[in-house]
């Protein structure tokens, strides 16, 4: 059950792994702010260049980072399309009538089917999507054999393209930054880093230690609970619960047959766990020493300096240019 890793941590060595989680969290926070201060595509491109160099230096495979982008790919596409469609400033780049008629709609369907079919081969998904969108665009633009039942004018402005590229690039950098954080930091280290950073909030009544303990215990029990869910599923399948087929009404019952035991077991566990913790003298909110401690090293200092430099650069760019 070790395959289930929250936050996609992948064990490894190299520069980013040696950093203190606190440094990583703060660095990434500041770099994000810096990225938001940049105003032109060129500046962003330079930032991306620096990021790529750093990733390579830290021996993090770009492929893994890109894979981390997959879930938000749709978001990127939407952002891109919205920016193009909504911006009406600047020079007109192209304007064309989009034709909706019998041929274009049939061809659009064909293109759709072709796209879904090619997707089965499970490769070049993103490229295929881009081709699909382009295909649709040209299809509606040039398919004029029949009389249109609907048409509209699609105008693309220079500013629109610029903005969409800009926004997408910015999103890309921010996501890459967070991916690097979760990719190279163990969940427990991450919680401990957060705890340590939130420590000053204690004055406001926020007990960051308790919070961190809750998170780390939850992380510890994820594989156990997953294992259990599988056993419960087997037990109910042995009573004829078919989780793949069946009507909605049956399915509902089957899901209940899975959830109820899970909750009851979790409830029993939490009571036993509370006893076990109390018997080992755990008192919520009390002072404890820690076996895992965070230590800044020389690497953290360099990173801090580098971050400060980037941040200063961003401010300079913002104010002076």
């Amino acid at each position: 059950m070790n395959s289930i890793i929250i936050g996609q941590y992948i064990p490894g060595s190299g520069f980013f792994y040696r950093l203190d989680p606190r440094t990583k969290i703060i660095t990434i926070l500041f770099l994000m702010i810096a990225v938001f201060m940049l105003e032109t595509i060129l500046q962003l491109a330079i930032a991306i260049g620096i990021a790529v160099v750093l990733l390579l230096a830290g021996r993090i495979s770009l492929l893994k980072v890109l894979r981390g982008l997959k879930p938000i790919f749709i978001l990127l596409v939407f952002t891109f399309v919205f920016q193009i469609a909504l911006n009406t400033e600047g020079v007109v780049l192209s304007t064309a009538t989009m034709h909706f008629n019998l041929t274009s709609v049939i061809f659009a369907l064909l293109i759709f089917v072709l796209w879904r079919f090619l997707l089965r081969f499970n490769r070049f998904k993103i490229l295929l999507f881009v081709l699909f969108v382009l295909g649709l665009y040209f299809n509606f633009r040039y398919a004029t054999l029949h009389t249109d039942f609907y048409s509209f004018q699609l105008t693309i402005y220079e500013k629109g393209v610029e903005m969409s590229v800009f926004v997408v690039l910015r999103l890309l950098i921010i996501i890459t930054l967070t991916t690097v954080l979760t990719l190279t930091t163990k969940p427990t280290d991450l919680t401990q880093g957060l705890e340590s950073l939130m420590h000053p909030l204690k004055k406001l009544g926020f007990h960051s230690e308790d919070f961190a303990l809750i998170i780390s215990i939850s992380l510890r029990y994820i594989p156990t609970i997953f294992d259990e869910a599988q056993k419960i599923m087997s037990a109910q399948a042995s009573r004829g619960a078919d989780f793949t087929e069946g009507k909605l009404k049956d399915k509902l019952k089957q899901i209940i047959s899975l959830l109820v035991p899970m909750f009851i077991i979790a409830f029993m566990r939490s009571e036993e766990l509370a006893d076990a913790m109390e018997s080992r003298n755990f008192v919520p909110g009390e002072q404890r020493t820690r076996i895992n401690i965070l230590r800044f090293t020389i690497v953290d200092i360099y990173t801090g300096l580098f971050t400060a430099l980037c941040f200063a650069g961003a401010i300079y760019v913002k104010v002076m240019l």
Binding site: N2, S3, E228, K231, I232, S234, A235, Q236, A237, S238, R239, G240, A241, D242, E245, D250, K253, Q254, I256, S257, V260, P261, I264, I265, M268
Partner: protein, 287 residues
Amino acid sequence: MGIRFYNVTHEYDSYSKKTYKAIQNISLSIESKDEFIALVGHTGSGKSTLAKHMNALMFPTEGYLNIFNETITKKRDKKVKYNNLRRQVGLVFQFPEYQLFEETVEKDIMFGPLNYKVPFEEAKRLAKEAIQLVGLDDSYLKRNPFNLSGGEKKRVSIAGILAMDPKILVLDEPTSGLDPHGRQVLMELFSDIHRKTGKSVIIITHDMDLVYRYFKRVIVLKDGMLSFDGSPDDLFRSDIIEQNHLDLPNTVKALKYIKDKQGINLDIYQKTPEEAAIELRRVMTHE
């Protein structure tokens, strides 16, 4: 009819890249009537994996099985109703907590039959039969399963499987966690169900005293491989026990100690303390 294993291997994908064979090259056959089989072996010997193949919860990665005339191979066949096989071969898991979920015992027992589209009234009747079969009276039907004792929960979970009227009943360590007395009571119950219904019963257990006392046939697994299949008497008289680091039954151990200590001619293979005492008395009067 029944279950036939033909060179069945099940290989798990391990995350450390090495694959791991939970069971290896197993061939055996289990009849659909009158079997009373103990499945023994150390933790990790593949007992549970073997049991999960018997009702098609798991599929072989090599070899094939035949369960009530349906062939089970690595490839899932859309025409085979695997779900229906699970009605023929009832599998009871170790912890009743994994399956109890309804607010009454009756509803919980009816879950299985209703999944197989048994009419409501008929399912109700089956629940009543099943609860009596596991030695609890009708008053339990209206009770909340979560307020029962551990032993009662176990019985209800077994009733939940029995209500589907399986031909073969497989139980994964039903006696673990019980005290010796409870263990014996439960074994009497299984033996009783077996006698009354003629259903084949397969029980995974570690308890050699029970194996010797109750079972007709023992299957021993070692590192995923079949190491013995035969009668308990043959098993305990062979050197398989030592090879597999298994225990002898306590009666045999005690009598062996006396035999070695006193050098008397004694038949140490006795199943119960009573039989052991009779044998000891017999020997002493001869001396």
